[in-house]
Amino acid sequence: MVRFAQDCRLLFMFPISPLSNPLIAWVNPNFLNTPTIVLMAVVLGLLAVVYVIGVLIQRQPESSLNPAVVRAFNSRVRAWWLMFLILTSAVLLGKTITVILFGGVSFWALREFITLTPTRQGDHRTLFWIFFLFTPLQYFLVGRGIEYYGLYSIAIPVYVYLFIAARIALAGDFKRFLERTAKIQAGMMICVYSLSYAPALLYLTFKNQDGSQWSGSPASVLFYFILIVQAGDVFQYIWSKWVGKRVIAPNINTSRTWEGFFGGTLSTTLLGTVLWGVTPFNHWQAAFMSLICSVMGFAGGMTMSAIKRDRGVKDYGTLVEGHAGILDRIDSLCFAAPVFFHLSRFIFSMNV
């Protein structure tokens, strides 16, 4: 009973506590240490270079390059700028803001996913609850901290799954029941559950090789993670274009080849190893973690391609004119985030 009362108190204190200490909330010295700043500066420089290249290519009227490729490249660069700005401001403003921003991304991605997935009128109330109750709830639990790991790691796979099935049954429409349940659940798992593990990294207490507490900032681990996954996408694409011959699954995605996969994964692993300094990992561990990120990112890209092919569209963004599909950009992050989080928690953190 006492424990419960304490929990309640914490629950109500939570939204107020960052405000009661504005200094820590706004500029947290542990949050923004030297390696993080250096990493951010390097990424900012790279983004600027890539942006200039994109603008130069676009200005060349008689280019031998396919205009569709140039457009795709520029849209990707814009997405990176957005990611970088969100991440930077979020990291400067503290954990809670980061969680809220990721929640917004999940919400938007889920909109794209459900728009693409045919549902029936009987699913309407279910959809309302997953958008306005369960998506915010997942991020609320993540924002409550690592003590709530036991709850947020099963909330969507167990409780939301049971809710979706029961609520659709209550609506009284049995047509393609299992299919509809599975579709909504898949949207929640990919867009909300998986992605919520990315900001959850901020709440881990990492440890050094000797078991003592790591003095670095979890924000730099999150930054490292996103950077590696995005780099994995780019390297796999470049290798595919460069030496790609054997297409893995031509019916799903014509641009992903075995050469691209192996070359990209190798390059990503090398980059991840070089950047080990911003993480609590040693060289070998950093190599292993980036290898995992690259493979999972690949898996995410393939899976989302399969869903898109099934629905007969090329990009989630083409659903609405002039709107860049968020889901096209975060598919690899969604798949890599839970694995990266769990490995970090079990092997490299003091929160087990």
Partner: protein, 156 residues
């Protein structure tokens, strides 16, 4: 929804036409209808000398545009229903008015008929080229032509 997609200055001159028996019930609905500057039409007491079409023409005057829902009520299946004759009478009485077909994609999923909580799906509003009632065109011909115009927008 169409209203919210328009620019603000156009919005001030645009009035959605809605059913009085629904939108005049309860304070919240009245407030919503008022904030949209809706033109409420009484569906129950239709008088011969003050038919809804006359009322629309009179209220709109020379400056406003009206948003009319020619199906009368929304279908539950997502298929486009038959148009009511009001559109024809409107076109006959004011042949100088442009009738602009508009199609909203996904509306049946965002807010199905009978639900009050919307689901935030992505939607797309398509405006088509205006059409007019041709000279000597029969009611059935005109209504099916207007309906075709909307269906064409759906396929865009």
């Amino acid at each position: 929804m169409i209203w919210s997609s328009l620019p603000t200055d156009v919005r001030r001159l645009t009035r959605p036409v809605a059913a009085k028996d629904y939108w005049d019930k309860g304070a919240i609905r009245r407030h919503v209808a008022k904030s949209f500057n809706a033109l409420l039409i009484d569906r129950k007491e239709i008088k011969v000398h003050r038919s809804p079409v006359d009322l629309m023409i009179q209220e709109a005057g020379d400056t406003s545009s009206l948003i009319v829902f020619p199906e009368g009520g929304r279908s539950t299946t997502g298929e486009l229903g038959e148009f009511k004759s009001g559109l024809y009478h409107l076109g006959k009485k004011r042949p100088d008015w442009e009738l602009v077909p508009v199609h909203i994609d996904n509306l049946n999923r965002v807010l199905p008929r009978g639900e009050f909580l919307p689901v935030p799906l992505l939607s797309c509003i398509t405006f088509g080229p205006p059409l007019w009632l041709e000279k000597g065109e029969s009611k059935a011909d005109f209504l099916s032509r207007a309906r075709e115009a909307i269906i064409r927008l759906k396929e865009v």
